[in-house]
Every structure is written in C-alpha cells, then in structure tokens.
Symmetry: D3
C-alpha cells in the first residue's frame, strides 16, 4: 500500500461510469415503469452502489480507507443502454477514482441481477473513469 502519511488533504472528485446494455426495449420500459418483478431497479441499484463506494477499501487490497463525503448516482437511458454515472468526493490525501469505479460496477451488477429473469441478454460494458479532480494530475475525459 502506497505511503500517504506525508500528503496533504485536498478536495478530490471522481466521476466514473458503467454501461448496462439490455437486449430489448421492453426491458427499458419495465425499468422506467418500475415493473421489474424483483423491484425498482434504479433505486435498489443506487442503494447498493452507495454501499459499494463506502466499502471499496474492504474489496480492493491497496485502497486506503477514506472519508467518503459525497456520493451520487445518475442514470442516462439511451436506446438499449443505461449509463450509470457515479460521482464521489472526499477531502483526503488520495483520490476516489477506484471508489467511483467500484460503486459504478456494483450498480451495474445489481441491475444485471435484477433484470436477468426478464432479459437473458443483459451485459455490463465499460467501467471507466470519466473525470478526476484534485490531487497531482487532473484528468478529464472527452466526456461530451
């Protein structure tokens, strides 16, 4: 684990995304109309994702435990794709990129699990960092 004892606290923000692709428009409709038998997919997946962000250092060996000070989950639906946008903030010595990516992956996997009974063709595509702010190197993807 990287030694961060000499580092200073700064505000860090990270935005990660994951994409869930379904195989039929009916699946999207079921999500939007809260008619998926297992429950309200977007709300339940968001809740699981909040826990996912907070538990990152318990899942990824080299991640430092850190004070998660803000987390949000947004969804953008386009065609057969649900894009999950996970934002995480902290004021700490190290960034929250992996926390955001881990949270996004948990949201995506929860959606997969809940949609599986009604759609056999669901896939999780691309978990990636979109934006990172604070710390040594800012990073901004060609995001929009």
């Amino acid at each position: 684990m990287v030694d961060i004892t000499h580092k200073n606290n700064t505000l860090r923000t990270a935005v990660a995304e994951a994409t869930v692709k379904v195989s039929h428009p009916d699946t999207i409709a079921a999500i939007q109309n809260r008619q998926v038998p297992k429950g309200d997919v977007l709300e339940m997946a968001k809740t699981a994702g909040l826990f996912g962000v907070k538990r990152t250092s318990d899942v990824i060996p080299d991640c430092h435990p850190l004070p998660i000070e803000y987390t949000s989950v947004d969804y953008e639906i386009e065609g057969l794709q649900v894009r999950i946008i996970m934002t995480v903030k902290t004021i700490y010595k190290t960034g929250v990129e992996v926390e955001a990516m881990h949270g996004a992956s948990v949201v995506a996997l929860t959606m997969y699990d809940m949609l599986k009974p009604i759609d056999k063709g669901v896939e999780v595509q691309n978990i990636r960092l979109v934006k990172k702010k604070g710390g040594k190197s800012d990073f901004k993807d060609q995001f929009k």
Copy 2:
C-alpha cells in the same frame, strides 16, 4: 428476493469474464515480470476476486447467500488485453452467475487500481456471463 424454499439442490457452474485493457505493452510486461510497484498484480487480484465471489450476497441486494464450493481465476493475455475468467460452482437451489460476474469485476478493478500508477489508460471492458450449467436453463455463449 425470489422464494427458493421449494427448489432442489443441483450442481451449478457459472463462468464469467471481464477484460482489462491497458494502453502500452510495457504494462503487460510489468504484469508478467511481477514488476508492478504495488505488487504481483495477477496474484493479488485473484485473491481479491476470491473474497469478491464469497461476498456477493453482501453486495447485491437480491442475491441469496449460498455455499461457494469452488472458485478459480484464470488469465489470458492477448496483446494489450488481459481476459479474466472466473469459474464458480455450488450445489444449491439457485445459480452462481452473479457471483462469477461479481468476482470477475473485483479482479478487474483490483488490476485497474494496481496498474493506475504506471498506466493512465487502463479500462475495464465487458463483464459478462460466458457459461452457465445446472438449473432450469443451461446457457452457453459462443465462447471460442
């Protein structure tokens, strides 16, 4: 959560994969030669993945806790891609697809975290089910 009290135990196998794509051949070399500063990437990620599989029901709301009876992680390196193949078995009333996918995602995210300091272009691509055996509907992807 789906009621599984009336179901029978059968042998279930699931194979999932995730792909980690790096941006430079040097990263692949560093992985293979165990020279990544954060440690032995393939071994540490595998270990994290074992925990990931076992902790699936604690991460995904509707997943039943179940007796994980076998888990393995294999890697296939081709060009800039590391393909993670996660196999899970149980003898239980419900399958282990989400367990395999969750484990694969944890392996991939651990690799991302460990490679981040030496390669800013790492991405996690495609977490998906490759094979499922046992239960109502066998499933086999056009896997090779």
Copy 3:
C-alpha cells in the same frame, strides 16, 4: 452458541414488524410522493433491510449463519405511522426470528436517517415478532 448439529432441516418462516412514527402528515406525503431529498425512502430502506437480514449472524453474536431463502418487506401506512413488515424464510435447523427482527430494525433506522432532515420528531417504535412457523413451537401473535 447453541449446538444445532443434531437438528433437522425444516421450513421456517418468521414475520417481524417495526413501526416508524413521524410527527407531521407532510412527512408521510413526502414519502409517498417520493419527494424526500435523500431519495426514495421506501425503496432504499427496503434494500438496506435485505442486506440487514442477510448480515444478521455477523451482527448478533449467537446467531447461526443460515441460508436466507426468501425475504420481503411490506409497508402499511396509517396516519403518522409506517408499519414495516419483514418476512424471512429458510429451510434450516434453526429459525429466522432474529433475522426478521434485525431486518425490520434496519429498515426502520434507514427511514429515520432519511427523514431526519425534514422531520425532527421521527421515532422507531416496537420491533417485535409477529409470527413464527416451523421448528418446535409455532407462534402466532394476535396479529389483526
């Protein structure tokens, strides 16, 4: 911890309830119209409760880990009270009463946490077993 190695598996059901009392009808309206700033209270609390049920043996010292095979959360709103009804089933050697009660308490506390910013008078009242089936002694409360 009680020795259960000599016991037989039977179907066990437990129903527990917890009551959350708010101080103003506006709070109930905000819950029902999904307008609580922290999010959709009933869905998020249900999700937290599913995890709560599954994690009971990790929270209560003498509880045996056991295969949770069914969990559901229902809500009944009457006046200023939200009654949480948590049902849990297993086929195992010991019952799921504490699992149901623990799950109900987590749902209630999540509601408390989410409602706190808009209502300072929220209280959690009465976490109790309503029904128990299977095992040595059936138990049925004067539930309605």
Copy 4:
C-alpha cells in the same frame, strides 16, 4: 448522500436509547446474576453494540463513514425494563445520531436473541434519540 465537503469538524455527541421489556422478573434476575444459558447478556450485548456503532455506515445507505472516537453502553434496569443508553462521540463534519441509534438497536436485538430461549415475551421498544450536541442544532430531550 449529503455533500459534507464544505463543513467543518466539530465535536459531536449523541445519546440514544432503546428499551428491552421482558415478561417476568425471573428474566431480570437471570440477567443480573449472569445465569442466562447463552452467556452474560449485558456484556455480550455491549460488545455487539460497539461493533454496531462502528459499522453504521455499512448498514444505513446515506450514512457517511466517520471516525468513531468514543462509544459507551450503559444499562438501567427498572421493573421489567432494561433501558440501553448508547453514547457516541466524534469530531467530524456530521453528527452521530444514527450511529447511536443503530448501536442501541444492536444491543437490544442481541438481548432479545439471548433471552428468547428463557422468555417468549421479550420486546424491543422505542429506539430514540435522547440528546445531540454539536453541529447546527443542539437537541435535548426531556431526558430526566
């Protein structure tokens, strides 16, 4: 999750209580004389409660992880009631009310679980905030 990146650290204290009501004086005597078959109820429940406080952000979706800097559990026995008083302190940007309430609920449920074999009429009553200090709005219940 509420964004707390702009807030300042201040000393925060919260006191919550939960009440366990038993159905017979013999149960109280068994507790006090450490003769409950499952073990020393007050000590084991206190220990479970310490873990409960520390694990709050892993149980309640919107709770921020925070540095628990003090926790204590006190018991007051009156007639058939055991009142659990859980005190929690932190120096952080947000309060510890839910932490105190969650800890109190875990103490109460552990008592319920341990007393169940000797008293079928145990109930958990009223988990509520008694006192809150620090942060925007101090709060003091008519606590004695």
Copy 5:
C-alpha cells in the same frame, strides 16, 4: 479454492487453542475480578471470537463459507497464562480447523487490546490445532 462439490456432509469438530501471556499476576487478578478498565475481558473477547469464527471465510482467501453450527470459548488460567480453547462444529463437506484457529486468534488479540493499557508485556503465543474430528483424517494432539 479446492473443489468440494463431490464431497459428502459429515459432522466435523475442531478444537484450537491460543495462549495469551501477561507479565504480572495483577493482570490476571484484574481479569478475574472484572476490573480491567476497558471492560470484562473474558466476556468481550469471547463475543469477538464468536464473530471471528463466523467471519473466517471473509478473512482467509481459500476458506469455504460454511454453516457454523456450534462454537464455544473456554479459558484456562495457569500462572501468567490464559489458554483460550475454541471449539467449532459443522456438518459440512470440509472441516472447521481454520475457523477454530481464526476464532482463537481473535479472542487472543481482543485480550491483548484490552490488557495493553494496564500491562505492556502481553504476548500472544501459539495458535494451534488441538483436535480435529470428522473428514478424511482424524487428528488428535497430545493434548494433556
């Protein structure tokens, strides 16, 4: 992780021990008279140990999750040594040796943590398997 899908359930028992050595008879007296400032050492350490046994597969990578059906902690005090005897039982396809050893180590470390403020010379000595029953090879140490 070893594949156990083909194995049969049998009753398995494991007994492990750990030894905590203190540096002064006053420490032993404080333990026995429940006068250690941090609390009742033997009861709190036992409680922590119960959780430790149940959480073994979440701590040791290759351990299968399994149904812990019995756990007990006993203490034997001789001179400056406290011997911790942890017994675990399951009916499952694989044994509970590591569960017993992990539980014993958690009891020992909890004692260490609680005694540290009053005795700087506490050591944890010898965590080892004492007896194993069930499965392929019974094992019995020259235990007394």
Copy 6:
C-alpha cells in the same frame, strides 16, 4: 471504548511480527518456488493481511476505526520458520499496534490454511509487537 476526542493527530508507526513454523524443508521449498497447490502463498497471504489490517476495528471491539495510511508485509525465512513482519502507519489520535498484530495474524493464518494440505505440522507462533513509534510512549523491542 477509550475517549480520544481530546487527543492530537501524530504520526504513528507500529511493527508486529508473527511466525509460522512448518515441519519439513520441502514445505519451505514449495513456498519459495510457488508450487503450493492452493497458490502463491506469500502473495495471497500478504493480500489477506492488507484486508486484515484495514478491518481491525470491525474485529476487535474496542479498536477505533482509523485511517490506515501505509501497510507493508515482509517475510524472512530462516530454516523452518517464516517470520512475517507487518508495518502499519497512520496519522491519528491513537496507535496502530493492534492493527499491525491483527494483520500479522491474518497473514499467518492464511499461510496455515494454504499449507495444511501439504504439511500437517504447521504452527503459528508468537504474534507480538516489535516496534511502536509516535504517541505517548515509544516502544522498541530488543529486535535484533
């Protein structure tokens, strides 16, 4: 739990060690040549130990949750003994001795679990603090 709200943050370092003793030189050779059937013992045990350090406050009742800012695991092999040296650092109000000892014990138990199939005589010996720096009382063992 000790009240640390009045304490100041200082840099704290703790080094703990645990010793694993095997019964035959072949076991040492299998470890060094990465030929143990369960996997790469030193890497997997190190990974488990990182998680162990970070999870200490969830395992030991009175341990405060704290920001682990550095962790390393080193091994020294002499004859039939593998000495595990676990170093932990934080900048916080309380030390990381128990974190270091807990991490060392998890490394040792993982080694035990992985070596068990090829060597029935493995023992975990002596988990102890070697060095402590920062805080009220520095401590240095006659370590070499």
